[in-house]
Subunit: 199 residues, 4 copies
């Protein structure tokens, strides 16, 4: 009955199980036993694939990084690139809330110990950097209003994803998720726009 798999496979399985558990049930349930049950092996076996729990947390971090590496490239128009990025994040909130939830909670951050905050900060900074770059390019090309405070806008855009995430978690959305996704982008869009357009 025992399914034998390579360590490589098992490592991914375990990391994914960890993400699922932490995201859905919180850090308190993130135990070797739960992990093992989720993967379908016995708890002792976990440590054949990972030295200790800390190594698993690091693997989780790596996995998250992979899963988030969806920043669109190769699109000419910076605003279009931003739109893709934002919509993809908003969509991932609706589709796999666990992951986004994980990134914007302090759970792993704390779990990882002293280096945790740095790791997680780095992860989040990638998103900020991407947004900042898009905005700068758009500003240079005159695609957005000149007086836009780019730094504030970066915070606003990253925050919006969170606002959407928590609202959907709390059941506080007054409209269907997919409609809301569009409307959020619309609102954001009109904020960035050159005023003249609407004059």
């Amino acid at each position: 009955m025992t399914t034998r798999k390579s360590t490589q496979e098992r490592r991914r399985e375990i990391a994914d199980a960890a993400i699922k558990i932490i995201g859905e049930r919180g850090l308190r349930e993130f135990t070797a036993a739960q992990l093992a049950r989720e993967v379908g092996i016995k708890d002792g076996t976990i440590f054949r694939h990972f030295k200790d729990m800390n190594e698993i947390k690091l693997a989780v971090l790596d996995r998250l990084q992979e899963l988030l590496e969806t920043a669109p490239r190769g699109i000419e128009d910076p605003l279009k690139r931003l739109e893709n990025f934002v919509l993809s994040r908003l969509h991932s909130v609706a589709v796999q809330p666990g992951i986004q939830s994980l990134i914007f909670s302090d759970q792993i951050s704390h779990a990882l110990g002293s280096e945790g905050p740095q790791h997680i900060a780095a992860l989040r900074n990638r998103g900020r950097d991407f947004i900042r770059l898009c905005l700068r390019e758009a500003a240079e090309k005159g695609l957005i209003r000149e007086d836009l405070d780019i730094e504030a806008a970066v915070l606003l855009i990253t925050g919006m994803v969170m606002g959407f995430l928590f609202a959907s978690k709390d059941g506080a959305l007054t409209e269907p998720v997919d409609e809301m996704e569009r409307r959020i982008w619309q609102t954001l869009r009109s904020m960035l726009e050159r005023k003249q357009v609407t004059a």
Copy 2:
């Protein structure tokens, strides 16, 4: 050596210690022993003041509610009311990051068990309701652009606080905190504004 205090005092001390610990060190460190050490009593003594850990979590919830009950009232201008609210939240992020952090993480939510999400959702919904009311009133009075999508704006504003919170946690602020606070509100402000003004 023994410091004797009333149960009432101890309960508050313990609840505050809980907030501090969860906010700063995460749920994993939220144990009777840590709580006791923080307060300066023995761990068994905790349970002379609280029936069990769950009761402590509920006390934390109450305390959070108290700390957040700062929604400004009595101000005529809805936009001014909103400004006060947003600035106070932004400021509290800078001053006592633990609390805001707590509200926008799933930590207590999970800790509180099955009813946790509801409790926390209710807490967060208050903020949303307040913002929604301000925006509606402002819209009626013609103080903001007519085509503003109020629901999207609610998410955007709540999210902004989070965006600021996480950016400051991550050391991702390019400017000093207090300046950033002002700039964020400015940016938000100009977004809500009637377009004609800038025509």
Copy 3:
């Protein structure tokens, strides 16, 4: 709201509460807190009246002795005396099962520590002695069959009370309690009787 009573009164109250608790809920519930609640005082106060829990157990023993001191005296006919004794025990089983239950369980015995078994044995021996004396006198007076094995009969009679006690606890009585009481004595009676009588 506090009722102040003399230590003497409190001691009896506490001992009675102890009997009630141990009899009805078992030794595991016999704690200072439960005792205090039953009596209507706070747990610390228990130790103003008793040095420690052990002293309470000894008081329980004394109280049991008192409650059992109902061995009838002054009746001429030894068989009548025995009848009174047996019926009174059987009746007490029905009326206050806790006490009898206590005497025939090892609960206090164990609770009292190393001297417990002796104390309890002494208590139970009194009943045996009483029965033995009645039977001997009856034998001498030719009121019971000559070939009766008195020692065996003593065990049989004491056991019968237990048989009745446990049957009534287990809901294993096929007839109403009071009828059963009579029938048991009848059966016992006919066993002791001289055979000639029924020839």
Copy 4:
């Protein structure tokens, strides 16, 4: 130093240790730590073999049932069957007093919680049922006196075992145990007998 045994073995060891401890030292000593010491493992290890203490109590119940399943079958003569049964119980009192002691104390009953009394009652009722059946058959076959009150006799016989049990515990036996066993059955026997026989 570590002795490794199968869970199956350990479960039996632990259940037996539980019977020994409860029987000899009482429920208060029935703790995971004592159990572990008796078996020679660490206390936490207990819970690798049993979910919790309650599961151990249930195992004790099962084990008791096994140990008591000695009701003789296949003997034609109902009185002979009864004799075997009674003598075997009396004997087990002398040989392994802990077990009988356990069945006629409220200890496990209370320990098992709300369902405890039922479980234990069921266990005791088996004995009663067996005795009742023997007596009924004997009555039908005219082997015992016609006027015998069967229900009273059932109580009397079960009680007798207890009477013997407690007397031997209390050191109240005036004769050697094995002689007493015989004499008790004799006395009982003569009680059941048809009167005519002795006329």
